[in-house]
């Protein structure tokens, strides 16, 4: 693996129209208007190669994996394990054995919480942040309740970044800290968090560093070595792959030291009625028939993204996000949550999710009116209620872009938002 971050990218060479042609759904209409899909942080759309690969797998190679003694079984196993290898390459893992397939990122984070939880007891501390998605809060709350450990969290600054100074002042990460689990990129604020720095702080006190990469991995070139974390959870459906497949990357020696999560077929070594022994990772964490077609096709999705170069995709995202921040920022009565600049080349970047609140219109109504114009956004708390409470608002509207998003779509959103505000305020 090279160092993807250092790759030189010419953003003008990225042909967004050619990319759009790969995604059949983008040519459909909604309510008689061309679809403007700005909900990719929720789930991404799928290119034709991914759609075809799913059909092809079921049409030609369908069988169970790792146990069927026949040709189809061998083909299915090769396809599924091939997906694992490609994902290992995609994130710069040392080997395919470091990749555990789960059903989604939530399950991957629950796996982390439950297996690391066996090491926790009263007096121990787990650190998350107030900007986390519920799936990186609730599993840790549950495990802390069960073990007597204490859950603590990073606060945020007024501009929506992790408040590292406050954390340092209050000794957030200390000798009692056993786990630190933080999102790489916020699903609401778009903030890119300084994972490498936090991982150093976690490791300095002997804590395990877990990263929720659900929004980061689809967006940025990923090198687990550069991130410096121990465990990285992400999901397939946000990176142009199928639903039903999530990923946990883990440092192999750490994975090998963790107990099983779910019990069942394929995760065992020898089962006796008096007790069982367990398979080495990753099989130890993949009980039962896995999402076979999904695992295989996630490899195709990763290849598709890599084919465009993740660095180029990131550069395109930055351009679109910068355009969105400027266009939406110019709307009267609209407040952007989180960093208001992209800061592409600074230490602190910004992801493609732009959430905002409007004084006069509730996010539900915003989403409904935008939908009437064929524009898909998300309204609500985006599974980050504590963050909204911290920001002093109940809910927000979020637009999120991806490699197929155009600046013309952002302009359509801006116009439709102005029409929406007028709709609710005119008398």
């Amino acid at each position: 693996m090279g160092t993807p971050q250092s790759e030189v990218v010419d953003a003008t060479a990225f042909d967004v129209e050619a990319v759009r042609a790969d995604f059949p759904i983008l040519s459909r209409s909604v309510g008689g208007q061309p679809l403007v899909y700005l909900d990719s942080a929720n789930t991404s759309q799928k290119p034709q190669v991914v759609i075809d690969a799913i059909a092809e797998h079921y049409r030609e190679h369908n069988a169970n994996v790792a146990r069927a003694m026949h040709t189809l079984g061998a083909e299915a196993t090769v396809a599924y394990e091939g997906g694992r290898s490609r994902i290992a390459d995609f994130v710069g893992a040392a080997s395919a054995e470091e990749i555990v397939f789960t059903k989604n990122a939530s399950e991957a984070l629950n796996l982390c919480a439950n297996t690391l939880g066996t090491r926790l007891g009263p007096g121990d501390e787990v650190v998350v942040s107030v900007m986390e998605h519920h799936s990186n809060i609730v599993p840790w709350q549950l495990v802390c309740e069960r073990t007597g450990a204490t859950l603590r969290w990073f606060d945020i600054t007024e501009d929506g970044r992790l408040d590292l100074d406050k954390a340092a002042a209050e000794g957030l990460i200390n000798e009692r800290t056993k786990v630190v689990s933080v999102a790489w990129v916020s699903n609401v604020l778009g903030t890119v968090n300084p994972i490498t720095l936090i991982a150093e702080q976690a490791h300095a006190v002997g804590a395990v560093m877990v990263v929720d990469g659900s929004q980061g991995v689809p967006l940025m070139p990923t090198s687990v070595a550069e991130l410096g974390c121990d465990l990285l959870a992400f999901t397939g459906h946000k990176m142009v792959g199928p639903t039903g497949i999530g990923v946990l990357w883990g440092r192999y020696d750490l994975l090998a030291s963790l107990p099983p999560f779910l019990g069942g077929g394929e995760m065992i070594e020898i089962v006796r009625m008096s007790g069982s022994t367990f398979a080495p990772p990753p099989a130890r964490f993949e009980a039962g028939t896995p999402p076979i077609a999904q695992g295989a096709v996630l490899g195709v999705a990763a290849d598709y993204l890599a084919g465009h170069s993740m660095a180029a995709i990131r550069a395109h995202e930055e351009q679109v996000t910068g355009h969105a921040l400027a266009r939406l920022g110019a709307i009267k009565g609209l407040r952007i949550l989180g960093p208001e600049t992209v800061d592409a080349h600074g230490d602190l970047g910004r992801g493609g999710a732009v959430s905002f609140s409007i004084d006069t219109v509730h996010p539900h109504d915003v989403a409904q009116l935008l939908d009437s114009k064929g524009i898909a956004v998300r309204g609500g708390h985006h599974c980050a209620r504590p963050l909204h409470e911290r920001l002093g608002i109940q809910a927000s509207t979020r637009m999120s872009s991806y490699l197929y998003t155009t600046t013309a779509e952002i302009d359509a959103l801006g116009d439709a938002l102005e029409w929406t505000i007028d709709f609710f305020t005119r008398r």
Partner: protein, 152 residues
């Protein structure tokens, strides 16, 4: 169906000028209801005199549909008997689950008929029913409190 047809002027009027808004004393029953998918919240109090709904007071954060629907509801149920109010709730709930195929009865539902179009948007039906379900809960608590009073 157009979005303008859904957001009837009656709905927007109630949204901009919410009737019977604010929490008041006295009351016998209070309920706090939340729509977990979006975080809409309503706190609603019911004041009964015997079987009569004398006041419904409420505080809420939420979308125009949930706010306007609660506002319309307070106008409908205040002054009615609890039985009549529950019949209206049933009729309104039926309308909202009718996928836009039910012709609303204006004599019964008054401004509530404006929500007929909302029934065509399944994601918003919950919003329109939030205040009504809080009312049913608060009324149940009020009558329960009343029962306890009598047995003392």
């Amino acid at each position: 169906m157009s979005v303008e047809a859904m957001y009837q002027e009656i709905i927007l009027d109630h949204y901009r000028d919410r009737q019977h808004y604010g929490l008041r004393e006295p009351y016998e029953g209070e309920a706090h209801h939340v729509n977990p998918s979006c975080g809409d919240e309503v706190t609603l109090r019911v004041h009964l005199e015997g079987d009569r709904v004398v006041d419904v007071s409420w505080d809420a954060v939420g979308c125009s549909i949930s706010q306007a629907s609660t506002s319309v509801m307070t106008e409908l149920v205040i002054g009615k008997s609890l039985g009549e109010a529950m019949e209206l709730r049933e009729e309104f709930t039926e309308l909202m689950h009718g996928q836009g195929k039910i012709e609303p009865n204006e004599d019964h539902l008054e401004d509530g008929i404006a929500f007929a179009g909302v029934a065509k948007f399944p994601a918003r039906v919950k919003c329109a029913l939030l205040g009504w379900s809080a009312f049913a809960d608060a009324a149940a608590r009020a009558t329960h409190a009343d029962d306890q009073e009598k047995t003392r």
